[in-house]
Symmetry: C2
Subunit: 588 residues, 2 copies
Amino acid sequence: MGPDTGSGMFIGRYRIGKTMHWSKQLIPTLREVPQEAEIPSHQLMLRAGLIRKLSGGLYTFLPLGLRSLRKVERIVREEMDRAGALEILMPALQPREIWEKTGRYEVLQHVMFEMLDRQNRSMVLGPTHEEVVTSLAAGEISSYKQVPRNFYQIQTKFRDEIRPRFGLMRAKEFIMKDAYSFDMTWEDADRSYQAMYDAYVRIFERCGLRTKIVEADTGAMGGSASHEFMVLADAGEDGLVECGSCTYAANLERAEARIVPPAEEADDQAPEEVATPGAATIEQVSSFLKADPARFIKTLIYKAADKPLAVLVPGDRDVNEIKLAKVAGDAPELADDALVETVTGAPVGFAGPVGLKNCRIIADERLRGAVGRITGANRADTHLRHVSMERDVPGAEYADLVFPREGDACPRCGDGVLHEKRGIEVGHVFKLGTKYSESLKAAALDDQGKLHPLVMGCYGIGVTRTLQAVIEQSHDKNGIIWPMAIAPYSVEVMAVNVGHEESVRIAETIAAALEDAGVDVLVDDRDERPGVKFKDADLLGVPLRVSVGERSLAAGGVELKNRADGEQAVVPVEEAVGAILERVRSLM
Amino acid sequence: MGPDTGSGMFIGRYRIGKTMHWSKQLIPTLREVPQEAEIPSHQLMLRAGLIRKLSGGLYTFLPLGLRSLRKVERIVREEMDRAGALEILMPALQPREIWEKTGRYEVLQHVMFEMLDRQNRSMVLGPTHEEVVTSLAAGEISSYKQVPRNFYQIQTKFRDEIRPRFGLMRAKEFIMKDAYSFDMTWEDADRSYQAMYDAYVRIFERCGLRTKIVEADTGAMGGSASHEFMVLADAGEDGLVECGSCTYAANLERAEARIVPPAEEADDQAPEEVATPGAATIEQVSSFLKADPARFIKTLIYKAADKPLAVLVPGDRDVNEIKLAKVAGDAPELADDALVETVTGAPVGFAGPVGLKNCRIIADERLRGAVGRITGANRADTHLRHVSMERDVPGAEYADLVFPREGDACPRCGDGVLHEKRGIEVGHVFKLGTKYSESLKAAALDDQGKLHPLVMGCYGIGVTRTLQAVIEQSHDKNGIIWPMAIAPYSVEVMAVNVGHEESVRIAETIAAALEDAGVDVLVDDRDERPGVKFKDADLLGVPLRVSVGERSLAAGGVELKNRADGEQAVVPVEEAVGAILERVRSLM
């Protein structure tokens, strides 16, 4: 373990441990696609021997998976340190009472593992740490001289997922980087937010990830604004829209669209009942009446603050309950059948706004001025047509209530059109404001001696999820294609035939020289058929493969192959180390 | 973040992060000794701002505590890697069923946090990982070609301690390094054990800890042999004995002593009853009869395998139930009063071996050939004297049943005398054998195609406990005295008076040069009285303090002070960096 040599300086910073021979490692590659894995990244993590399942949503990191994970963590740590954040480490186990103080126990209890300790105290496993860190700040920060401060940790989180799946994407136990900023003023907090936003851009770039930054809802976290860092992927669990013309992008829950008034054909006929026997869904009625679902006024009865609420949206749109909650002023829940019948006087499936009594009505903006529409008649097996909103539903309030979709107009630039995408959320930054500092009494004196609650932000990166997202974004049919920065090894060296002494000697000499230069090297020293070794190399996805064999030596040296573009070259033995180092540097 | 300069190479390997100014860090030092802390290391961790309590047994690592922790982890990792162990990371959350397979759920359930998940499965938080790692090995290792393998992790463990205390010494959540070796044969397993033993010696040395290696009982872990690495300290929760002459040392539970036959005075009188009204304890009777407690035969009634068992030990000794269990062939429990009365025919306090019927009798070796002893008469308020073991208790079996104590003869060298000490267990290595591999079916084919259960060892280091043990062993009345290798910073630089521009400029220049050379530097840039800054420096215990002030400049330069020995020197400004680097290297 002597000092690094000069040439390895830059590379050596990225190294983990020492050169490893395959025969002494644990790299249990699999030929078959494991049954348990649905998406490519999950399949590849298992097939390349990066992780193994212990039970649903719980995985062991094998050596190669852990090496890449540590490299992601190091990038995160370097960028957080560079942004001035201070690393701490908070307990996973937490008394339930601190969650009750902020009112979040109720909101999050369904995803928190909870248990009694031997002192009969209720303990939970933290899915996030606002409560703990704000309690810490309340104890340690008391003056404007002590802020801004940003505390982060890279730590294991727990979530009692109802349906853990996709490997590390949605696991019961996972590693997060979570950071929490504390400032005296909202302006300072905005600066802290921006610093984290910028750090996140660098982190994901350095991990080799292409991310889309989208406006997002603040959800259970609370606060005034937030952005998500999304990796676009068909397997993503989050929907988002992005504008084809400008930079607008938003999580589907948060996304708006420019509302284009419906192109209505004049229809001043009075509402008319039409029998629709047995047809209760929009699909059934539209097929029965041969009318476009978009011509329907879908009427949903909710319960909000113990009162009924009728929600109207175009027949081909879905209610975004997050938007609805903001308008309704409470978290509305769909009414049960009994309430629907009480409110409408009809069985479920035939609700409509016309003549509805004692019930607040909120309609989607897209229905403003709509005429000639079809809706339920509040009578069994009956619908109404020729309904005009203005004339027939005079008491309706209007708001944006639906999810935008492919083809909607961009709310920002006006001429762009929105496209729907799926994404994997790898990072999320929130402006929290004073929600937590007020309930946990984290306040500081300003330079006038006046006490203010600290203004907070919080910032998360799913570290284990990021690792898998890289694979989801960077693989081909043969295996993983690691970005150099987080590859478990930077170079894989093999003697094609370990029975050929000269090949083995050259391979080992090259590996030792690379090691001296600070490069992470894996030596495939297995006595296996060349086909098996080459297939495994592609599966592991180490960025640079160096193979030495009778054939390459006859062709003039050793063979270098880039995993990403498949580029191959034979390089003379004596030039090999220099050529490899140059490639490693260029890919770093 | 340019490459390191040549001079910093060696030192740079040990660096964490960048130079930090006190005013931007979180170092909440405390003047007062916190009420919650009983022992020096716990008090100092709180006072120096290394940790803060969240609730009983749960602590947050603040930046300085985490920096030292990471340095301990790095030493552990380097030595484990050097010994050929492979790092993995297993889940903390585990299905209870794997614990039931090995029969350990029953043994350890009282210390395991347990909860139901949303699928209604019983989950536990792992206090150790034999079950998980052996399941992993069962799936991945199938041939002698794949062993030896040793898997380790540095990971968070949970224990539902009934009485968490002493800060990180006995916490509910803590970090362990646990390693597990798998071999084909017992001989190979011995080699794996020795490699870990040797690695542990290096690890604790590098952390600056003086440890005592003692033979220990295998306890709930099972297996054939084990050694503990103990840090001697009055606050230690483990008792141990060590020989004053040879290297023998053992945990009190495991320790033996050479049994010196009692120097008996001849006494051939027949047993004689003596009234001891109301005196039921050895203390009471010995005071009543004016006899040395050592002359008593203490008789304890146990229940083992549902049968009564009388256990006889000298009146001044305590039964070691671990030793007793080995002889009794079951885990004996003290009998309840009813059983004592049934067996002895007398109330509790008057049991004796003479005439005891239908009851197995096991006596401590130290009673072999004893004559003229006093014991209970199996009748209320009555004792017997002139008891001879051979004559009056002919059916007794003999074994070593008691804890050794100060002054006992060494069992190994014969002429040495044992001394009792208290210790903090920081490491423990076990020869496990095939207990886990058999119950979890981890087996491999040998080169003859025959299947053998893998032979295991397991090896733990309490990483967070080690950190605190260093402080317990290395502090003075003013604060911590960090060994260079795990100090949060290697050097603390301060301008004594931040109002004096020249001092500040020199301090910053020196700090920057040290930083360039790869040294971890803390700059105390606070506008505080010199007394406060010097006191805090001693409290933090950074190994080397560099102070610049009008007085030092007048005396010829900057002042260097070693925290450990208090040695001070004034060095010319232009020679300061070189002198500091030399000292840092010599202390590393």
